[in-house]
Amino acid sequence: MPSNPGREWSLTELAAEAGMPARTIRFYIARGLLDGPLHAGRGATYGSRHLERLRRISELRNQGLTLAEISVALGIRRQTGLAAPETWWQYRIGEDVMVSLRAGMSPWRVKQITTLLERLVREQREGKETSQDDA
């Protein structure tokens, strides 16, 4: 447990407390390993939860885990009540046609869909009617 649960730090102070550069902390935030500051915008502050997490990340790194593995080990979930963010890939398959696919699909599914998209692109280029199945 943190020694002072109600304490808040600036990023510079947090970096000193955690014994790591502030840049590394910002990188961990961007990398999804650490939540953003308690108060966004000017006067951003960080709490004991951040410090705990940074110490845990350091421990895991010293054990030789990669950041991706640390992310799994920490069981990171969004705590804002919102659904987990999702990434979508956007395929521009023509001047006026866009298709969006959810990222993180299994490789066989990606292959299946992209094969269909390629056919669509080819047929579109050749000026053929696209069948309902292809669509």
């Binding site: 502030a22 840049r23 990669t66």
Partner: protein, 749 residues
């Protein structure tokens, strides 16, 4: 086949907008000189985020390179960096960021990896950072090769693992204990959609330039004067997935360049071609081939490396002794020690090489240590063939220095650790070459091998009325000029004296050197690179050296803070790491395994990923392009070299047949422009000639006479007319006579 750019990019879930590239462009300009390059690398950063952005770009330094300074500019401001001890620079950067100011930090880590970090780029703002870099070049007798990394190659490190975060995106971290807080980029299997790169370089040589070419990029070359050329990327832009390589050919002769600095001190650099020294002494060789069979060598590089070693074996006589060590995570040797290069030894080597497949990591230090032990404390050379894709190079350098053997390095790769292999060879008194898999690697290996074993000058000493620094090499090898840096108080009437065992020469300095600091800075960057390779013990000296020359190093970093109206203190910028392309010719999954990350993690990481762009044609979108396979035998001359017997002759049923085959081989080499003193096959030709001389007296009169003619031609380096590569040995005598009867000049005189 049709090609059309189809983009698939991560979207912001809230807005549905594409995430834009944080670094949009990297443009290389500057000037190549006979002894190095002064480069200006312009990075264009742009924020499309609604909050301040911090961008981290990681790159590797070229050989013998050091950062000098940078300029950061944007709308209404232009600020140059300050050189400060690393801790101070980091503190200044963080204070700037915390104060809401635009801040930039260029900091070097181990292995010459640099993080250029630009913090607090405002929403919608474009910022340019122009970084000045001093860099060395690979000198050849007839010119130079310049190499600049447009991507950072992933590498093997015992404590690092690569992970595939999402299809075609890989990530790797290096241990903090060795690399501190360095941040590596994410690697993209396809570089389409990443930032664009390009170059426009001036080339100024001391002697007239005959040719400039690039095996890596399409180039447009214009000649302004005989010694002043310009080389640009021929297309509008290119991808960050390989090094730029430029070959500059000049009329090679000794050159002494000098400049007068602000203090009145004169710094000089002398380039003395190896041809000015002498010829190598023909003594028995002791050589160990050290072959990298790590996974990153798979495909063309390992095939080329195997073939190169086989061809080099053809240059050995049965008086020579050799060994072979193949390494990845494990070490395998042909034999515990050196074996004679006789018929049996070669056969064993061929069988051993046939079983060498690319796999595993790159434990180069262990490979070098094993090979050095095979020399058992005696003199000899290690001939290392590797892609150099390895992190933690300083430990390897330490092992190599401790081993006490001379290392000659042939690097193979489209984006590799040229810096490291240069240091590895130089610090062990050897020479290095770096080639791309698209070039004739086996020829480069043969050429290096021919020059590496026996120096053309040993015991080299350089003296001047001043300082010679860094200490020049003790040996000079054929094909590689001697480079000497130094400083003098006055140039008029001052000469550089170079002496070696059995010879000496004197070069005068230009009497009135122009003002300038380029040579001084190059000397400094070379000293910094050498000292950094010496590791922790030299850290204090490194800081002093950095201050003296005004160059960054692992102890001194560059920092700038731009205070502007509207700075918003206390805001945490969003951090973004600029991804780079996997080097061409390196398979993505050699470094990045799929298994370790759940899809949830992959999704989160994808939010940071920049736009990827992929070409669509008739192939599935996610299939990688097939690797280019080499034909089994790229050059018939290589095959001839591989087949040579230990006594220097070609194989055959008896002396007469063997003489015919040997004459034919010699004519083939001659026909392709090789001679006894030049070209990758010069050692082979010397041995063919020696064999023919030894057997000629036992041949019938007709053949003896024809052998004499061919030997005269070989010594004169003059080919005999004929399509020799198409002939069988049994046809060679008649073909020579026929040529004579048809009036072709078979007299080489």
């Amino acid at each position: 086949m049709t090609h059309s750019a189809v983009q698939f990019a991560p979207l912001d879930r809230e807005t549905g907008q594409e995430v834009e590239l944080a670094m949009q462009r990297l443009w290389l300009t500057g000037r190549l000189m006979p002894v190095g390059a002064r480069l200006l690398v312009r990075h264009i950063f742009r924020s499309a985020e609604p909050e301040p952005l911090e961008v981290i770009y990681a790159f590797g330094l070229p050989r013998d390179a050091a950062l000098r300074r940078f300029f950061i500019s944007g709308e209404g401001f232009s600020v140059h960096s300050e050189l400060r001890p690393v801790a101070e620079a980091v503190e200044a950067y963080e204070r700037g960021v915390a104060g809401g100011s635009l801040s930039a930090l260029a900091r070097e880590y181990a292995d010459g990896i640099v993080n250029l970090t630009v913090g607090n780029i405002r929403p919608g703002e474009t910022v340019a950072v122009e970084l000045e870099i001093l860099a060395g070049v690979e000198l050849h007798d007839g010119g130079l090769r310049f190499r600049f990394p447009f991507t950072l190659a992933p590498g093997y490190h015992r404590q690092a693992r690569g992970v595939e975060l999402s299809p075609g995106t890989g990530e790797m971290q290096l241990p903090e204990s060795e690399f501190g807080d360095v941040i590596l980029p994410q690697w993209k299997a396809g570089a389409n959609g990443l930032h664009e790169i390009g170059f426009d370089l001036a080339v100024s040589m001391a002697t007239s330039i005959s040719e400039i070419g690039s095996p890596s990029h399409p180039v447009r070359v214009t000649s302004e004067e005989a010694t002043q050329w310009r080389v640009r990327l021929a297309t509008a832009r290119d991808l960050p997935d390989r090094d730029l390589i430029l070959d500059v050919k000049t009329s090679g002769s000794s050159a002494v360049l000098a400049e007068t600095g602000e203090s009145g001190r004169i710094t000089f650099a002398a380039v003395v071609p190896s041809t000015q020294f002498g010829r190598s002494v023909d003594s028995p060789r002791r050589v160990v081939f050290v072959l990298d069979r790590s996974g990153s060598m798979q495909g063309a590089p390992i095939e080329q490396a195997r073939r190169a070693v086989e061809a080099c074996l053809g240059a050995l006589s049965d008086q020579d002794r050799f060994g072979i060590v193949a390494f990845d995570n494990q070490i395998e040797s042909l034999a515990p020690g050196l074996i004679p290069a006789d018929h049996d030894g070669r056969e064993r080597a061929r069988r051993f090489l046939a079983g060498v497949e690319a796999r595993g990591g790159t434990e180069l230090a262990a490979g070098v240590a094993t090979a050095a032990a095979m020399l058992a404390g005696g003199t000899g050379d290690l001939f290392v063939v590797t892609d150099g894709q390895v992190f933690g190079t300083e430990a390897i350098l330490e092992t190599a220095r401790a081993a006490g053997a001379r290392l000659h390095c042939l690097g193979i790769g489209s984006a590799s650790q040229d810096r490291f292999l240069t240091l590895l060879a130089r610090q062990t008194a050897g020479v290095s070459r770096f080639v791309t898999p698209g070039e004739a690697v086996d020829m480069a290996a043969l050429d290096l091998f021919a020059s590496a074993g026996r120096p053309v000058a040993a015991g080299v000493r350089c003296t001047v009325e001043g300082i010679v620094e860094p200490a020049p090499p003790k040996s000079v090898f054929a094909g590689t000029p001697l480079l000497v840096f130094g400083q003098v108080e006055k140039a008029d009437g001052v000469a550089l004296h170079i002496a070696w065992d059995g010879g000496q020469t004197t070069l005068g300095l230009p009497p009135c050197p122009p003002r300038g600091d380029f040579i001084y800075l190059l000397q400094g960057s070379r000293l910094v690179a050498d000292l950094e390779a010496r590791g922790q013990v030299q850290e204090e000296c490194l800081e002093e050296l950095s201050r003296t020359y005004g160059l960054a190093s692992r102890r001194m970093a560059l920092v700038a803070v731009v205070k502007r109206e509207g700075d918003r203190p206390g805001e945490t910028p969003a951090t973004c790491v600029v991804p780079v392309g996997m080097p061409r010719d390196t398979a993505f999954h050699v470094y990045f395994s799929r298994a370790r990350v759940t899809s949830r993690v992959a999704r989160q990481v994808c939010l940071m990923a920049p736009v990827m762009e992929m070409e669509i044609d008739d192939r599935p979108l996610f299939r990688r392009a097939p690797r280019r396979r080499l034909p089994r035998t790229a050059d018939p001359l290589i095959e001839l070299a591989q087949r040579m017997e230990p006594d220097g002759g070609m194989p055959g049923a008896g002396n007469r047949d063997r003489a015919a085959a040997t004459v034919l081989a010699l004519l083939c080499f001659l026909a392709k422009g090789h001679s006894l003193s030049a070209g990758p096959f010069r050692l082979h030709m010397v041995r063919l000639v020696a064999y023919l001389e030894s057997v000629a007296s036992a041949l019938p009169k007709r053949e003896r006479s024809l052998v004499k003619t061919v030997l005269l031609a070989a010594r004169a380096g003059k080919p005999l007319p004929g399509d020799w590569l198409q002939l069988q040995p049994s046809e060679v005598w008649h073909a020579i006579e026929l040529g004579a009867a048809q009036g072709n000049s078979i007299s080489p005189t």
